[in-house]
Amino acid sequence: MIMDRRFEREAKSVFVPLGDEPGPATPLTEAEKNALVQAAVRRARPRRSASPSRPRRALWQTAAAVTLALTALGAAAAAVRTFFSPAPAVEIAPRVHAPEVTTTSREPASRESAVPEPAVAPEATAAVEVGGDAERSIAPAASSASRERVRARDLLREANGLRAKGYYARAERVYASVARSATEAGDVEAATIAAAELRLEQLNDPSGALASYRDTLARRPAGILAEEARYGLARCHRALGNADAERAALKAFLARHPNSVLAIEATGRLRALEVE
């Protein structure tokens, strides 16, 4: 307890209270501030003006999720490219002679989830030492997998672009094709959810969206977009006018994701349903 008080006093002298003055975030120019706020107002507009009778959910959350998935995919593709580089000696040298670069630039939280170094180094070293045989045997399969992932990423980007321009039906078709052909479970999940969002929000196809959300949850009940999928189920039931199913879906969502940003909205909708 004495130690806690000491830490408390020490922390008071270390932490700078939250305020409007510059720091710790680097300051923005007025133009940058304006652009950021205007974008937020634009994104909030469709949701604020949505009709209460039909569930409208802005696409920004899906877009953010898909962007996250793309970022991850890009990182994964980069890791794969590094892993199966045709000239591994170049990659290995800095790792062997300067491991401290990795440890100082990526502290504990990072280290926990880092791409496992031991798995990379021995195989890559072997490829060099056996004069290329191992390298040749790995490279074709690896580059094929890498190509598939890069292609999926490109298609997702294309779909995002189409959606941003308002070509919703075309975007939905591209998302659906990625969902069918992608080899990474995360890409399939991101594409399926993005297609479902478009079906529900833009293409007046809540039944199709419902099937996609169900499919996502059946494949990956604890996937990174399971939260969106569970909330999507409730929204589909609402669009289909099925109040009992919507109520059950909202309860299931709140039970599984009590800390979700959408929990407030889900609770409010559940209350409204109880009153109706």
Binding site: F15, G23, A69
Partner: protein
């Protein structure tokens, strides 16, 4: 959401803020914009305390959108800025949960490579930048409770509830985090002294 320490001690909103909120709730975009411009620096600072890396402004935009959408649910009982802080914290935590899930199957976030353009911004800026540089070296499970407690003013039981962790675990993480933070800050002080001697 339960009452925060900062809310309890805070005065009521200035009349111009109250008027802006009322207009924004009615859907006036100019009022939304003015409110956004008003709270955005604080939101960026809040998010930077919580997050390393270069995607602060993506999260800030998410926070602003959530603030605009949830404005009608602001009761007016506490300071508006404190309510916005709560939204910023929730949105950032939600985003980080997803990001962590993604990182498990890819690679970790790089620590923010900080270039310091802050000359002339005053000692508060320099101190807070040094603090987040040190925070960037902490594991998230140590950083989060420290920032939630010392920056956002949450109590330890509130943090334990939010993070779904036992009270003692949160306390231990905060103690360990504080030890590591102090060591990291001492490294910077040592660097500064060596720099001065040159």
């Amino acid at each position: 959401m339960s009452t925060r320490l900062v809310e309890r001690a805070a005065p009521i909103n200035p009349p111009e803020v109250q008027a802006l909120i009322a207009r924004a709730v009615r859907g006036e975009e100019s009022a939304l914009h003015s409110l956004g411009m008003r709270v955005m620096p604080r939101v960026r600072n809040a998010v930077r305390y919580l997050v390393r890396g270069d995607e602060i402004d993506d999260i800030v935009q998410d926070v602003l959108v959530t603030v605009f959408e949830r404005l009608a649910s602001y009761s007016g009982e506490g300071r508006f800025e404190a309510w916005v802080d709560g939204v910023a914290l929730r949105v950032t935590l939600g985003r980080m949960r997803k990001l962590r899930a993604l990182q498990r199957r890819t690679e970790p976030l790089a620590v923010d490579a900080i270039s310091e353009p802050g000359a002339g911004l005053g000692p508060r800026y320099a101190t807070s930048r040094q603090l987040v540089r040190a925070l960037d070296h902490l594991a998230d499970h140590q950083r989060m409770p420290l920032v939630m407690h010392h920056v956002f003013g949450w109590t330890v039981p509130e943090i334990a509830a939010e993070l779904a962790a036992p009270l003692e675990t949160v306390r231990t993480r905060m103690r360990d985090g504080m030890i590591k933070l102090r060591m990291q800050l001492e490294v910077y002080v040592g660097d500064d002294r060596r720099e001065e001697r040159r």
